[in-house]
Amino acid sequence: MNSFRGDTALSDIELEEKFSTRTLNQSVTSRLLPMLAPVRLQIAAVIGIEIVQVLAIFARPLLIGLVIDRGLRHAGSTADASLIVWACVGLAVTWGLRFVLGGFSQYCSGIAAIRVLNDLRTSVFAHVQTLSVGYFDRTKAGRIIARADRDVDTLEPLLIQGPPEFLSAVLRLCLAGLLLWLIAPMLLAGLVAVVPVLVLATFLFKRVAQRSWAKVAENRSRFTAHLVETVAAVRLIQQSGRDRENLSKYSGLLHDFNSSLIHGSARSGWFAPFTGLLTTAGLALTLVIGGRGIALGTLSLGELTQSLFYVFLFLAPLQEFSDLFERFANGTACAQRIFLLLDTEPDIVDHPDATAIPTIEGRIEFRDIHFSYRADQPVLRGLDLAIDPGEMLAIVGPTGHGKSTLVQLLTRFYDVDEGAVLLDGHDIRTIAEHSLRQHIGVVLQDNVLFSGTVLDNLRLAKPDASDSDLIAASQNIGAHDVLVSLPHGYSTHVGPLGGQLSQGQRQLVCLVRAYLANPSVLVLDEATSAIDVSTERRIQKALQMLCEGRTAIVIAHRLETIRSADRIAVIKDGRVLEVGSHGALLVQGGHYAELYGSYEKSAGILASDVMDTLSMREAAAIP
């Protein structure tokens, strides 16, 4: 529960690593390859281009060698001008090929990547939407989002650019080796001596670098998080005058980041200079061996010059392999994470013979319910509660004792551990999820809106309603005055997750939305907690109207909100302690009476004539 800081980048990576050793790489590869099927043409084109590119690269030293050997020496002092011109044209063409074909190859692989990755992204998202609420409660939002966001992107270098680049590197290595061998086997032999050193260095580099980067990433996410938090906490920091301490904490985090970065580079930064050194050693060896060849007359000067270029072409792919390998490792880890998500089954699925119920009366029964979110912490222990059709039941009790859990079970966001929730006598597990939720409308505490206008959000509940229908509903419920006075009225954009509206405004939109859905059972879980009293007053009547003819469950801690309920249930420690009407419970003198007493005391001893004017009281007095 409280492992937040520990639960960041480093332990994430460790977790994934632990997990990656468990899954076979084979299975990932065999699942990745079919994803390339729709873009096989583009991939083939890219591979074809890479082959042409390699040939173009090798043409260059050949042309240069040709000029040196034939163009210059020919006929003593007079050069073979036409050969030189043609060689120059050829050289220009090879560069042109490199860049033009490079552009084309980039285009093909880009198009392929866009296709494959976004198909995957879409299917990940669609899958996420089918998962049960429990999964979202267990998994941090950031992690789920990262699967469809960053992780998918990380596949690009593995899936799209990886294979052609790998092929090109292998081709260049082989061709350079072959050409060197053709010019003089000794040249190749000399270079091959350098290879083991390079391979060893690469191996060391990879090990050092990987360890360092995990730490750098962790430190980076820490200072970024602190910055974001500071922006959100400006008021508190200014109020408490803690700006210096906050800055020094930030400086500390920055320092950690810098030193891990520099430390990491100090340990891995030798690689580039070292490969440069090795390349020079290769060049020097080639000079000696080539010099010998020239002295013996077995090698021409042009061939020596060519060989110098081949040294670069031979050694560069070896360096690229380390990068390719790293990308492969990264990409595979991401692919594993994505596949793990795709393999996650929703906890709550429709029973094979689940049925849709066209209409319901609205009788609800919680029968001997046992439930816990985590095995060792039972929330509900043998709870029994029955609600008649059309009845309005209020639930009160301390926070964290299971009130909201009842709502989670009724809407089947979670399934009970033991016992059953019955709707009109049917176990809700036998009712199709879609049908169940159609009959049960909820307005929750964490009322979320989606980006779009207020009207867009209302329309979610009733997709085919006209604007005026929606506004009429808002008027019926008494939310019109507040919503119409938003900056752009009903066309006001609510921002991501409704963030542009105040909590109270959001709750009003949610209430109207629930009203529009017209469910047979209505659940209000602290649905009006953030609305100011006078507005709440105004919509109270409308709520009353809204509850009429439906079964309603209302959870609230403003006791005045629930006084009007037909019955009130007090829930504590996962059980129903007492149930009855407001009056009956007061007479009984139990928990509710105590709760109400302290509420009344804090609310002041209201003069009874004031109380009598309450329309709610009248409504409550009828039964």
Binding site: N2, A87, F99, Q129, F223, S251, A272, L444, F450, Y599
Partner: protein, 600 residues
């Protein structure tokens, strides 16, 4: 000198990226050293190619490996070249390693300076500035924009500076061999870079559109995950997935357009630059044929141009990064250049209990011209508890923010003090002391993602654990401590997400109590508590008044009757001013607006 500096400053203001680079001025020594080391590395690189060229020339002349009269091979000269080459390369590798680390370290020093300035500025700027720009915008600016600037600055040494050196030395070498050899590559380079630069803006614009399209995708993702209950409740899963697919398709379209554009426009300038290679080969060969250039020089020139062309290949992307970072840097400097309106005064606050007195105060802090408070006057005596009620949007929260000067009034006078110790205009008060002694607990509770203890100690840095626990008890959060696994050391998660709304509010209340202020303002800060708990907390706070040497003055913004009832006096706000005041009983008797407001 002064004039020159001023015009230099103006010049920097117009080029925000250079202005970032100007921070290197604060570490001149290391900057010069890095530059020198990198120059040495580049010279060594070019020299190495010259050496190889020389060796080839000797090979041509048959001097590299000599055949003795008896057919024996004399490698003496060859080994000399090998020693030269490897020695130079080794020296280069060592310097390159050092220069790499040094450039990284001063690059990071520059970024750290910039990042610290940003944080200082965030903390320094007025609350009104933050309100106007919104948390989301500030966060974007500080993270995304800062990252873009970082990308450009990190490239400074490795790409811009080193490439610049390679271009300079390569062309210099060519020029040594023959001016004509250098001139044409120089022109080609200019032409190519100019073409790329002219495309950079278009590419950045395309990138932006991709970014915007992708924002919609990530927003769908975030809403799909965070709004899962609503999605399930209304069975919106399919339509959300459909919407996501639509946004992904838009993103695809933009991404394709950008790739199409780039693959069409970038290869041509690259090829133009690469023509240098052909020119050097052609002219070089011609010159060798006419004996105005040695063969070794030709080989060296070809090697050098090869390096040059390969180096230039990535420049298109680099120019794009720079063009993109320009706008981001400008936005960052915009924040850094903003001046806070609220500056500290230098006078100490009156000693003893504090009251507050407002006369004819007007305020319009949101910058949209809307006056929230107008002509507002009232007084709260030291030791008094006053409740402030009013409909949503009547300006209560703004009013509370005026007292510790988190927000500045446009007109009128706000004074803190007492009749005994005198009154002090908040504008002339020492800001730190003012905010320590006048504490406002806002509606939106905020906790750092850190331990409970750290969050509480924010207002009492030296508070003992016992003191923290005591404050939690007073805030009716004692039972909370028992429920948390690790007590005070429990981490409370992002913005206190592991706690419920009521628990968060109580922790924040405890923190406010720890501040031990003389004037405590609660801005609807107990709204999420149930009646019993609120009652306990308020009773405890009320008792505080008895336990203190100097009486605690309280202003409580309330929407609930239970909260209002603990006050000595009630003020009713409407339309930005005090519409009525008096005791609760008197207001219930005589004020219809108040009765309606309180639901009586």
């Amino acid at each position: 000198m002064g004039v020159r500096e001023k015009s230099f400053g103006r010049f920097l203001r117009r080029s925000p990226l250079l202005r970032c680079l100007a921070i290197y001025g604060e570490m001149r020594g290391r900057f010069v050293l890095t530059a020198l080391l990198l120059t040495a590395v580049t010279i060594a690189l070019v020299a190495q190619q010259v050496l190889v060229g020389r060796a080839v020339q000797e090979a041509q002349q048959g001097r590299l490996v000599r055949i003795g009269l008896d057919g024996d091979l004399d490698y003496g000269q060859a080994w000399v070249w090998v020693a030269f080459l490897i020695g130079l390369s080794l020296a280069r590798a060592i310097v390159q390693y050092g220069a790499g680390l040094l450039s990284l370290s001063i690059g990071q020093a520059l970024l750290t300076t910039l990042r610290e300035r940003i944080l200082v500025q965030i903390q320094r700027l007025d609350l009104a500035y933050h309100w106007r720009h919104g948390v989301g915008e500030m966060v974007t600016r500080m993270t995304r924009d800062a990252d873009k600037v970082r990308d450009a600055l990190i490239n400074f040494w490795r790409q811009i500076f080193e490439t610049g050196l390679i271009v300079a030395f390569s062309l210099g070498l060519l020029c040594l061999y023959s001016p004509w050899l250098a001139l044409v590559p120089l022109l080609l380079l200019f032409a190519g870079v100019a073409m790329l630069w002219s495309e950079a803006d278009a590419l950045v614009a395309l990138d932006r559109r991709i970014g915007d399209a992708y924002d919609a995708v990530t927003q769908d993702l975030s809403e799909g995950v965070n709004g899962v209950r609503v999605i399930k409740a209304f069975s919106l899963g399919d339509s959300r997935a459909e919407r996501f697919r639509r946004h992904v398709d838009l993103f695809r379209g933009e991404a394709r357009a950008a790739i199409r554009h780039a693959s069409r426009k970038v290869p041509l300038p690259q090829t133009i630059i690469a023509l240098s290679h052909a020119w050097v080969l052609g002219l070089g060969a011609w010159m060798v044929a006419h004996a105005t250039l040695g063969l070794g020089a030709l080989v060296a020139a070809l090697l050098v141009v090869n390096t040059l062309v390969l180096r230039i290949e990535g420049i298109g992307r680099l120019l794009q990064v720079i063009a993109d970072a320009r706008a981001s840097a400008a936005r960052i400097w915009e924040v850094l250049d903003a001046r806070p309106v609220i500056r500290s005064g230098d006078r100490p606050l009156p000693a003893g209990p504090l009251g507050v007195r407002l006369s004819k105060v007007s305020a319009s802090p949101l910058g949209d011209g809307a006056t929230v408070l107008r002509d507002l006057s009232f007084e709260v005596c030291p030791g008094e508890i006053v409740a402030l009620v009013g409909t949503t949007g009547s300006g209560k929260s703004i009013l509370t923010a005026l007292l510790p000067r988190l927000v500045e009034a446009d007109e009128g006078l706000i004074e803190i003090g007492s009749d005994e110790a005198g009154w002090l205009d908040v504008r002339s008060a020492d800001l730190r002391e003012l905010r320590r002694r006048v504490h406002v607990l806002p509606q939106e509770s905020f906790l750092f993602s850190d331990t409970l203890a750290t969050n509480l100690r924010l207002c009492a840095p030296d508070g003992t654990d016992a003191k923290l626990v005591d404050a939690l008890e007073k805030a009716a959060a004692g039972e909370l401590l028992g429920r948390l696994g690790e007590g005070l050391q429990t981490r409370v998660g992002d913005r206190g997400a592991t706690l419920s709304g009521g628990q968060r509010q109580r922790v924040c209340l405890a923190r406010a109590l720890l501040a031990d202020a003389d004037l405590l303002v609660l801005d609807d800060a107990t709204s999420a508590l149930d009646a019993q708990t609120e009652r306990r907390a308020i009773d405890n706070i009320r008792n505080l008044r008895a336990g203190r040497s100097a009486p605690l003055t309280m202003l409580i913004v309330a929407s609930r009757l239970s909260t209002v009832l603990i006050a000595d006096r009630v003020m009713v706000m409407a339309g930005g001013r005090i519409a009525a005041e008096g005791t609760h009983d008197a207001l219930v008797q005589g004020n219809a607006h108040y009765r309606a407001l309180m639901g009586l």
